[in-house]
Structures are given as C-alpha cells and as structure tokens.
Symmetry: C2
Subunit: 526 residues, 2 copies
Amino acid sequence: MSEIIGHNYIGGARSAAGSLTLHSHDASTGEALPFIFSQATVGEVDAAAQAAASAYPAFRNLSANRRAEFLEAIATQLDALGDDFIALVSRETALPSGRIQGERARTSGQMRLFAQVLRRGDFYGARIDRALPERQPLPRVDLRQYRIGVGPVAVFGASNFPLTFSTAGGDTAAALAAGCPVVFKAHSGHMATAERVADAIIRAAEQTDMPKGVFNMIYGAGVGEALVKHPAIQAVGFTGSLTGGGALCDMAAARPQPIPVFAEMSSINPVLVLPEALQVRGEKIASELVASVVQGCGQFCTNPGLVIGIGSPRFFAFTALLSTLINEQPAQTMLNAGTLHSYRNGVQALLDHPAISHLAGKAQQGAQAQPQLFKADVRLLLDGDPLLQEEVFGPTTLIVEVADKAELQRALESLHGQLTATLIAEAGDLQSHGELLPLLEQKVGRVLFNGYPTGVEVGDAMVHGGPYPATSDARGTSVGSLAIERFLRPVCYQNCPDALLPEALQNANPLGINRLVDGHYQRAPL
Amino acid sequence: MSEIIGHNYIGGARSAAGSLTLHSHDASTGEALPFIFSQATVGEVDAAAQAAASAYPAFRNLSANRRAEFLEAIATQLDALGDDFIALVSRETALPSGRIQGERARTSGQMRLFAQVLRRGDFYGARIDRALPERQPLPRVDLRQYRIGVGPVAVFGASNFPLTFSTAGGDTAAALAAGCPVVFKAHSGHMATAERVADAIIRAAEQTDMPKGVFNMIYGAGVGEALVKHPAIQAVGFTGSLTGGGALCDMAAARPQPIPVFAEMSSINPVLVLPEALQVRGEKIASELVASVVQGCGQFCTNPGLVIGIGSPRFFAFTALLSTLINEQPAQTMLNAGTLHSYRNGVQALLDHPAISHLAGKAQQGAQAQPQLFKADVRLLLDGDPLLQEEVFGPTTLIVEVADKAELQRALESLHGQLTATLIAEAGDLQSHGELLPLLEQKVGRVLFNGYPTGVEVGDAMVHGGPYPATSDARGTSVGSLAIERFLRPVCYQNCPDALLPEALQNANPLGINRLVDGHYQRAPL
C-alpha cells in the first residue's frame, strides 16, 4: 500500500504549498483517520489547471490507440488495488466491502469500455464531402470534419460512488478518452480513497508515457470555484446536489468565456405501479420495491423516491404491505455526517408538511438513517409543490395515489425532468395505458419496464441523464460510452493537403474507421 | 404574391392582438414600406410558445419520413417564391437580386439536405445492448437508446442572410428535422421577407398535414426576452452580435429551468499569408483577399477581419498593394441604418486607437459603407487589446505584421475562438510552419487552405461554429447537417417490450438503419 501523503497532484508531481489541512473520517465512528491532506492554494489550483493546459496539445493529438492503452493501464492499476484499499474505502464511506469490490470492477470496466470506443473510432464523427470542381453554379470545395477534445476538463465526483463516480469515474474516463486532460477535485468524503486512485492513474500515465499534467488532483473545501473560473478549463463534469450543480453552472455561465457544465443533480425517479401488475404480483413488487428503496441506504441518484398508483382496494393493500416492509428494514450508516444531516432534514420536511402523512419508519434519531415511507395528496403534485419534486437522498420514498388514468396523466405531466421512470406493468396494463409512454419519454433519460432504477449498467446504450433538474444538459449522459460526446467538438478542414489531415480524415483511411463520405457511410479508402 | 398582413403566426392562425405596430424599410432609401406589422403582445408570445408545445408530442413522434416530406415541401414552396419575392427581399436588405436568388436555392437545398439526414437515419443514434441473462456476477438488462427532439425551439435569425440564416434558415431546418416545433422571432430588418417565407412554411405544413403550431412566428422589438424565458421553450438558436447572443445566454441560464443557447456571434477570421505564397502569387492573393473583404459589403460572419504576415520587403509590398486595391473599392449600401451606424462606430474606434494606423479607404460618410484597411502593432494582439478581437461588421480588415515564426505563434495563441482561420501557403510554407496547424485547430471551427472564408458550403462535413466568442457552444455548428444534433437528446429503454419500442430500436429494424448492436454497427435485424 502506497503511503498517503495528502499533497496535491500537479503536472505529475506532488505539491503542498498551503497551510490549511484537512482530515478524512471513519464514516461509521466519525473518528479522524491518520492522514493529513493539504488544501490547494489559489496558486496550486492555477498550477493544476495550467498543467492540464500544457498537457492538452500533446495529449489530444495522441492516437486514439495510445489513449486507449492509457485507459487500459488505469483499469489494470485499479484492479490491482487490493484488500487494504477495499478496507480503506469501506472505512471512509461505510459502504460494505462487497459493494466496493463490485464498484472497483465497474470502474475498471468503464475504462475498458472507453478504450473500445477509442479503437472503434466512431467518436471521431469523421465526415468527408469531396470537392466537386464541376458543380454548377459554383464548385464545391473539399470539406472534412472530425471531432477533437474541447480542452482541459474539471471534474467533481460524488460521495455515493467513491470509485465509479469519483476520481477515476465516468466523467474522468470520458474526458481522458476524448483527449481532454483532467483536473479532479478530490471529494472531501473520501480523500484517502481519492489519493489511492489518483496514484493508480499516475502510475498508468507513467507506464504509458502520457504527458505530465494529463491528470491532476486538488484537495480542499471551496477550491472548486477557482477551478471552474480558471481560463484554461473548458468544460466541467459534476455529480452531486442541485444546489452544488446549480452554483457551478452559474459560475461557468458568468465567466468571460462561458463553458459548458454537465451536472447530474436531482431526480426522484417515479415508479408507476399499474393495476394488472398489482393483481398478478403485488407482494413481489412490494418486496422488490422496498429492497430498491433501502439498497445502499438509499444513496443512489436513481433511488425510487416516488411511487404512483391508481386508487383501489388492491393499491390500498399494497400500500399497507409497503408500510409493513419498511418498518422491518434496519437502520443503516450513511456515507458521512453531512449526508445524514441532510437526510434528517429531508425527512423532517416531509413530516412537517400538512398534506403528507407518515406511513412507516422509526423516528429518525442517532447515527444511522431509518427507512421511511410517506404518502402525499396528489394535489401536491398537480399544484407543483416543490417538496414533491425534491430528492431526499436516503432510504425513503413517497406514495401518491391518483383517482384514475386521466389524473395519472396529469400527475406525470406535472413532474420535472428525471433520470428514470419505471413502469411496473403487465401486458394488459401497457395496452390500456399506451398514452403514458410518450409522456415518460419526454420527462426522463431512461424508461424501465418491470425493473428498478437502482443499478445503472455501463454500456453503449445507457443514458444516465435527462431533462433539468436531473441534469443541467439533457443532451448528455454521465454513464456509458455516449458520455464522451460531451467533451468533443467538431473541426472542419477545407481543401487541406492529404498529408496534413488528421489520420481519421486522410484519403487512405489508415485507421480503417467508418466515415460519412458524400452522404454515405463507408470504410473504403478514397 | 400573397398579401402581407403583418399578423403574428400562432398555431396555424394569424393574430394581431396588440396595438404596437412596426414598419419595414427600403434599405437603400430608408423609406417605410407599405406594410404594417403587429408587435406580439406578451399574451401572443405565450400563445406562440404554447402552440409549439402543443404540437411537440405529435410532431416529434411523426416518422422521420413524414418530417422529411415536410422539409421537402418547404423547399418546393421556397423555390416557387418568384421574382416579386426576390425584389421584395432586395428592397428590404439592399442585397442584389442575384445574391438573393442564390440564397433562396441554398435555403431550399438546406431543407433537402436535412430531409436526406432524416431518411439516412443516423441522427437517431440507435444503440442496442442486448440482455445477457447469464452474465456473471450480474445479468445484463436489455438497453436501447435513440435520440428525440428536445422540445420547442426559439429561433432568432440574422440580418445579413435574410433567407439562409433567417425564417426558414439553418436553425429552423435543423430544429424541425429534429422534431422540435419552432417559434421564430421575425428579424426587424426584413419583416416582409419573413412573412413571405413564413407563408411558404405554413403552406408546406398544411400540404403535408403537420400539426398546427409546428411553426410559429412573432413580430416585434423586445419580444425575444419573453420568448426565451417561456417555460415551454427548450433550446434557442441565434445568429447575430456578441451582445445580443450574450444577453440571450444570460436569460436562458437564469431561467428556473436553464436551457441551452446556440448562438453564433463574433469572429474576425484570421488569414495567415505565408512567405512562399507571397513570393509565388502575392498579387493574386491581394486581389482575391480584397474581393473577399468587400464581398456583400463585408456583411458576413466569416469576413476576413485580420490578415497576418511575417515582416519582409515582400509583405511590405503586399500591404501596399492591398492599400491600393482597397482605395479602388466602391462604397456599398449596408443592410440597414443600424448596421451602417455600427460600422461607422467600429471604423472610428480603429481610427482613434493610437497603435492602429489607417492605410486605405475614403473617409466614412454618407449613407454607404466605405471599405477600409488598417494596420495594428502586433503588441496589441499579444497584450490582448479587445479592439483587435472584436468583429467590425462591414468591409474592413486589419493587417498585423509579426517579426518571425515565434511571434506568429504567440500572436495566434493570443486570439480568441473563431469560426475560421485561413492559411495562404505553398507546400514549402506548410512544411516550415507545421506547428501552426494544431494551434489553429484549437482556435477555430474551420481551417481553410488557400481559399477565403466567405462562402460556407451547406453539407455534412461543414462546421460553422467554433470556440467562444465565435459561438456560445463550440460543440455545435449552425450550418450543415450536424446542426441537427444541437436539438436532440438521448433516451434509453430498459427491458421494453419490442412492440412498444420506437421503430428505430425494434428487433426487426423496420427503418433499415445502421445501429450499434452489442458494440458493432450493423443494419441486420435482431
């Protein structure tokens, strides 16, 4: 196990110029861990951004194959982080070791997926319109387009996935794949974990001879503002709260040169339980749904926070069963004291609301989160009550009963943008509620059938995104290979000599990639 | 010729609820034309946005083929606008009829290009990861992704291309192709033109049975703010000034639900004239460059506003020749009084600057724009003087002489983002200045070789975009078929029954499109 020295990572070296220090904590006991982290000074934030800017010209111009090798080396390094690492992450986050092992595999798998994307070459978006010198009334020039990385990217990770959505997580992987050097702001909830992962990335960068500054990491509270405002930074990836993401968006928009922010923020992930499904398998649904609500102490962006059903004796029984099951669920330790504090406040706000009733769950007290079940009057949804649109991060969910199909439609229309929506439905339900699907599609990034939204597959077809406030830009995803597109921009060459063109656009097609040539896709050389 | 009644276009009907009226003007004489336009009231702006929102669910769900038929019908209607239309546009803009005829063909051609994109089907971005029920440690669910239109789009056209960048221009075409209904803010510089074009679009919508509200248009000064802030609007397309675009970006970012703005704003389009090219064909370059500077009275976003060369007796002679040629160029009428006013101010600011010298051009006076040539000390570029980064919209350009290759590199590094950069170079120049190309690629959307940036081909490979302030989002283009991507977002289906999937994602692949299936592109059914 490499020593944890707590210095910032700048341009391939370590730096601790400031006097402010930070501690990481044991998430279960609150005890400070024996590591000291040096908060980055303004000068160090600047140096980290400059290091990324210096690496950019060389890194973006590396062949896709070289970048793929770098990502694969990171994956190997991540896989090699051993039991001591798993124990450390567990200690900082209170997440069980099995979960961390799975997350480690998912994080290295994600790196390998982006390596595949690089080798496949479709991320180039290569397009060629050949010259038409005889065209009337005007000849056509030769035009060739491909995509390049936008520049250095600032990444802010999440507390709830200390590996997959953090230091070497999806945003970092997507940015590096795109050819964008990264400055990562280490999450204050797992700084020792961040250091071990950053070490793994740096080892991989050295092994594969990447430019210094391809990956940088800074520690500290409040250092993110200077990072987002730094002129060298060209895009931001963020996973966290609506407040945090909104603040970054505002900073980015107010820069002399505004830059895009891809923030994944807040979603309540409605689950619609339809009548036939209730009839056929109500008990099974209740137990699966409760398992999804309390899984990982409910600390998922895709946690089902809203359950909607059509009023009936069967739905009444289903609600009663959910109550019984929620009452049986044990309290769990949350990621850190701040998360528990927010959960307590969120639960209290629901308890205090006159049109929301508390159905199940022990009184929230002590150092752990108690699972809770609430029921809200549908009018709150229809009238746009903000409390029903806000994510309560933790093991709680809220039932809304609608009178009929028409009210269900109106309730869904009143929802804000979501990461996911789920239909628990039999074939007959789907037939009689055909109008729901187009509406859900307009509201969310992912529509699930007879599953539960917790569990986000990393692949080509995944969308972990959706309309605001689920994310700040519905046109992206922060999970899956499409995430690379957020950090690419097109460049066009007009009448460029073949030898000077990037390989992706040369006549001979040396990369063997699929290209749109004169309106048709082909791999053949020209 | 249909009558021009000057009412707003809302949901397929006409509306003139307000009392404020506007006139259009003869651009050459300043005389008011005999048409009255009714400024949209707040209620009418709301109604237009609501009409677009009402059309959205039906319009976005039409087959791509149906939308293609709509775009082709618009193209046919545009082509059928006759000589009286050409004369009207000329009168409102002072642009010659030959230019307007060319622009009409370009605008209908653009509609047909997007129809091709719709039929090709790659805009769907269809991706399928099939279920792997046996996968260890966890099975993989079936995931399928495609892209849908983001929702109603507000479009603001430009004055300088009354057809191609206006009512039925690239932003409108891209949005409609994506399945997004449009609310167009008629440009105050050519409202009669806008009405004739809107009529053409509405005729096409009726012919092809599009939902009412697929295209709406409002007249008025200041009505854009209410439009951009309207909750139904989901994205904005804009072509115009940095001030105007910046204001829209700020409004969009400050909405309760922030939305993306694609603003094409300000570019000075540097042209680098390298030594061997000067030696081989200096006179030819000078006459071509001057022709590009004064073409269309310099009223192009891609007008070459900065000419950079390495100091030498030959560059000195080239500069002298440019001066002679500029002095020979006649004054021209600009698009409108406001444009001339801005040009006059821009020229005066250059004249007033102590480190900028005036090389050629008659004193700016009267109702027409006089072509001008200036020379600035390279230090102004290196020190980031804002005057050298600002577009002066009109027939003027500015020479900067650098001492050597190293200073050329530094001068280019100091440039802000641009739509284009041009290399006028012989093979030997390119060999000895290889370091320039990667740098230019980082600064611009399009790099030209031995051509001139005025003249933007509409095709698959064009990029009319670039880093800020050329545009507000370097990841898009406002010309060419890639422009559709600005208005699309991905949606993912998890374990969706085949019959309920959109056609693009069904097993049988009824659209016959290319899809990424389990990591490989294929057209075969599953």
